[in-house]
């Protein structure tokens, strides 16, 4: 290869940045196109004068050490580690930190059970490492890479876990978190808090089969880091941007990609909204699958059933976000200011979560929602004017399609959330200066994610692994030659893991090498 391959990466999210950086490091000439005006500082985060929201993800974990190594990231990128506090209506809150759970209502038996549960489930999550850190292996027509991944996975399950743990893993892998937690714990609040991690961001509730698997994919991040509260100064994003620039990636902002140019069934560039066209040998899209295939590439360039299957992927989000601008620090019953730096959960028991979920199946919102709360301004004072604060809330559940229409329900739903909060923080309503509710439809518009789904598509088994986003394009390359997926729509999905971008980059590098050799 005499000339370097020209690559275009669409989208400046963390997956796009990581993919671009790694391609550049491999010697490709990379241009990254971002439709917004800035990579790391999203202008629409300022939801009230002087008040900033943390963006879409308000909890961060660190990237996998191997990925950090591949990117030569040195600094500790995320903020302070944090604990989770499950709020109790009577003030008997339960604190989770690492393998410990503390609270007046938690029995010794439950404490011990929690420690062993964490140990066991972290080992399951860890056993999935070969699967998550590689392109998902094909189950037929495998190449050596696929065989190697499968062998590593088999080894990790069979010998990493051992026969009895593997059997248990195979049993719980497909079931719901509700049954597992009921087998293990007595304390309702403990069970609810764990199950929130299994269901948040998904169209699932604790009794939905496969919620153990969603829990494990979330837990995976904790095999190598601890969660922290995200702030406006998204240091990870900054760091990724800096490393992209250092690697020689040409970052263009305000560069909205209108479509991928396809000639002779091959992608050979993109056309921008400005009308400008840019040619490239490779186009990698971190947009979701519906946007990538149905809008950017176009159905006419793809097989009919492929298009049908893409259009049938379940991509409707079920989480809304609420940002509150507060006059001062809210006071929660029985919580210190130090406690407020943590992640607060309102989910009294698993049935409560289940009841919050039921209405979304019918295009209705929860009447008593599950809430996940952070106060990022306690970590980053620049997010609010002096002495004032920002509260960031994830709300389960809010359907993408609301029967009555979101415009007719926005105020009511916001009020429901504030009422739910004030049961634990009575003075909160009087502290609110401004509020912003982002429904899944708003998230769709603002972040250009079809359906407003955190993960660019449900992480159900039928949309995971070699079926993500759909089979036929699950290994980052698409049916269109030179067009690749590198975002959360691809394996292993969303969350700030950077794994799709990393896996995609390695796939692209390997495939271009094969082609030129």
């Amino acid at each position: 290869m005499t000339e370097s391959t020209r690559a275009i990466v669409i989208g400046g999210g963390h997956n796009g940045l990581i993919c671009a950086t790694l391609l550049a490091k491999a010697g490709h000439a990379v241009t990254l196109l971002e439709g917004r005006s800035s990579i790391a500082n999203a202008p629409d985060l300022e939801f009230a004068p002087g008040f900033f929201s943390p963006g879409l993800a308000h909890i961060h974990t660190e990237l996998h050490p191997k990925l950090r190594q591949a990117l030569n990231l040195t600094s500790k990128s995320t903020g302070t580690k944090t604990k989770t506090i499950a709020l109790d209506g009577q003030g008997a809150h339960i604190h989770f930190y690492g393998d410990k759970v503390e609270g007046t209502s938690v029995s010794d038996v439950d404490q011990a059970a929690y420690a062993s549960f964490r140990k066991e489930f972290l080992s399951y999550a860890k056993a999935l490492t070969p699967l998550l850190l590689n392109r998902p292996p094909r189950l037929k027509n495998m190449d050596r890479g696929d065989q190697f991944t499968l062998a590593k996975l088999g080894w990790s399950l069979r010998f990493g876990l051992g026969a009895s743990s593997m059997r248990e893993f195979l049993r719980v892998g497909g079931i719901n978190i509700y049954d597992v937690l009921n087998e293990l714990f007595d304390n309702k609040l403990v069970k609810a808090a764990i199950s929130v991690d299994a269901v948040m961001g998904h169209h699932m509730a604790p009794r939905t089969p496969t919620t153990v698997l969603t829990y494990l994919t979330r837990l995976f991040a904790e095999t190598h880091s601890e969660p922290s509260v995200a702030t406006k100064v998204d240091s990870l994003h900054r760091e990724l941007e800096a490393s992209a620039i250092a690697a020689g990636v040409d970052i263009k902002t305000d560069a909205w990609v209108e479509k991928v140019i396809i000639e002779n069934d091959r992608a050979n560039g993109v056309q921008l909204a400005s009308g400008q066209t840019m040619l490239a040998d490779i186009v990698a899209s971190s947009a979701d699958a519906k946007n990538t295939f149905l809008k950017l590439a176009g159905a006419a360039n793809l097989d009919a059933m492929f298009v049908h299957r893409i259009s049938k992927t379940r991509t409707n989000g079920s989480v809304a976000r609420l940002h509150l601008a507060l006059k001062d620090i809210p006071s929660f019953t029985n919580l210190t200011t130090e406690d407020l730096k943590g992640r607060l959960l309102i989910a009294p028991d698993m049935r409560y979560i289940e009841r919050a979920f039921n209405p979304t199946k019918y295009g209705e919102h929860a009447e008593q929602p599950v809430l996940e709360i952070t106060i990022p301004s306690l970590h980053d004072a620049t997010m609010a004017p002096d002495g004032q604060h920002v509260m960031s809330v994830n709300i389960c559940y809010a359907p993408y399609h609301l029967k009555q229409g979101w415009d007719n329900a926005r105020d009511k739903f916001t009020q429901i959330c504030i009422d739910t909060l004030s049961a634990y923080a009575p003075n909160l309503p009087s502290q609110i200066i401004q509020k912003e509710l982002l429904t899944p439809q708003d998230i769709e518009t603002r972040f250009n994610i079809s359906g407003g789904h955190w993960h660019h598509g449900e992480l159900a088994i039928d949309q995971s692994f070699m079926m993500r986003p759909i089979h036929g394009t699950a290994q980052y390359n698409t049916p269109i030659e030179n067009l690749f997926l590198c975002g959360a729509a691809a394996h292993p999905g969303g969350g700030i893991t950077g794994l799709p971008g990393w896996n995609a980059a390695r796939r692209i590098i390997a495939m271009t090498k094969d082609k030129s050799s």
Partner: protein, 398 residues
């Protein structure tokens, strides 16, 4: 309460009363939810009506879809393997369409009726596949199977007969051409198309004009000047094999209904290479077909003639007499006009080529006693039988 008539297994064709009056044998078979005659009178008279005078067949059961809208051409071009951008208004094309794996879902004809206005005729029900294929295209797809009264008029005297019936302009109508005309006070569309490999036409009218259309033809018969004869599906089967036409669902399993691995067929495997065009924008199955093209052929639906006069009903095909089994007969007939047995057979290839010595093992019965006989087969390229009158414009006035 619903008016759904659960007791009747079939829907009446708009030509129902006419067909029943002409049908002597009451030998019916189901076809796409309608009753069609297998034989209306006698097989021989019907076969020879097609080949030496004028035959009539009801096309109502054939699936018909109207495709309109700004993306109609792009939609159809992505659907089928042929390049339809070259199909002018007023022309018809024979097409096949495939699934993503490049296996044939169905075949049919596309009628370019007007700008952004097409009719697609298909052997099987296709609405689901058409709608599924329409994602991302600005088109409207309407099923019009029940709304059209259509008759196929085929045979050497079809031109003379239809002209005598008052249809003007047929002399300039070329094969695969469409003529919009008016006869006996109703609008009629005539296409020079058919499934017989002979001179012939298909006549299309509104359903409400079915009786008018029927009477236009059969009053002509009453004059005694033309032998116009209703034919059944058995005679059609003979002539379509002579013409080398394939029947999805009979000669091969259609892709959408295939359950077992390797039981579906690609256009190449059906010998339809001539309508697969890779020099056109993407179409469903293109990638798979390109990949297939790059590999040596593993099997083909071959046209075979067999020695002797025993039709190879359900026969296996062997490589060498009593050799290795290498295929099976999918359709067969005795051709009265060629005095020869014809067969379409699904045959395994060796290193990309057909075995050079093909034999059929034929079981037949004489006075309830079974016999077996081996017949040497010969591969035929192109049609078994064709006649210049099929393409002559103007057609000869037989």
């Amino acid at each position: 309460m619903s008016d759904h008539n659960y007791l009747s297994t079939h829907e009446p064709s708009p030509f129902d009363s006419g067909i029943r009056a002409q049908s002597q044998t009451e030998n019916w078979t189901g076809w796409n939810g309608y009753l069609s005659p297998r034989i209306a009178d006698t097989l021989a008279s019907e076969y020879f009506a097609i080949r030496s005078s004028c035959s009539v067949m009801d096309l109502t059961p054939m699936e018909k879809y109207r495709i309109t809208g700004p993306d109609a051409t792009a939609f159809l071009n992505r659907l089928v393997t042929r390049d339809l951008t070259k199909l002018r208004v007023g022309r018809v094309a024979y097409v096949v369409w495939c699934n993503d794996e490049g296996k044939v879902i169905d075949d049919g004809t596309v009628f370019h009726l007007a700008e952004n206005d097409y009719r697609l005729c298909a052997q099987h029900h296709q609405l689901d596949w058409l709608l599924l294929s329409s994602i991302g295209f600005d088109v409207s797809i309407q099923k019009e199977t029940h709304d059209i009264a259509a008759l196929s008029v085929q045979g050497p005297t079809s031109f003379s007969a239809l002209s005598a019936a008052g249809i003007k302009g047929l002399e300039t109508l070329k094969p695969f051409g469409i003529l919009n005309t008016n006869v006996n006070g109703f609008e009629l569309t005539v296409s020079r198309t058919g499934f017989t490999g002979d001179l012939g036409y298909e006549l299309w009218a509104e359903r409400a004009r079915a009786d008018d259309l029927w009477n236009t033809l059969f009053t002509l018969k009453d004059t005694g000047l033309f032998d116009i004869r209703l034919i059944g599906l058995d005679a059609l089967e003979m002539v379509r094999i002579e013409a080398g036409f394939i029947m999805p669902g009979w000669d091969f399993n259609t892709a959408e209904s295939t359950i077992r691995a390797d039981h579906d067929r690609s256009p190449f495997e059906l010998g339809l290479d001539w309508i697969v065009n890779f020099d056109k924008p993407y179409f469903t199955g293109k990638s798979a077909l390109l990949a297939e093209k790059a590999r040596p052929a593993t099997r083909r639906l071959l046209k075979l003639t067999l020695e002797g006069n025993k039709p190879p009903v359900g026969s296996f095909i062997f490589h060498g007499k009593k050799g290795k089994q290498t295929g099976a007969v999918m359709a067969q007939t005795w051709s009265p006009i060629l005095k020869r047995c014809l067969a379409l057979a699904d045959v395994d290839f060796i290193d990309g080529h057909p075995p050079n010595d093909l034999w059929a093992e034929i079981y037949y019965q004489k006075e309830l006693k079974w016999h077996v006989k081996w017949a040497r087969c010969e591969i035929v390229e192109g049609q078994f039988w064709s006649h210049p009158r099929r393409r002559a414009t103007p057609p000869m006035p037989f």
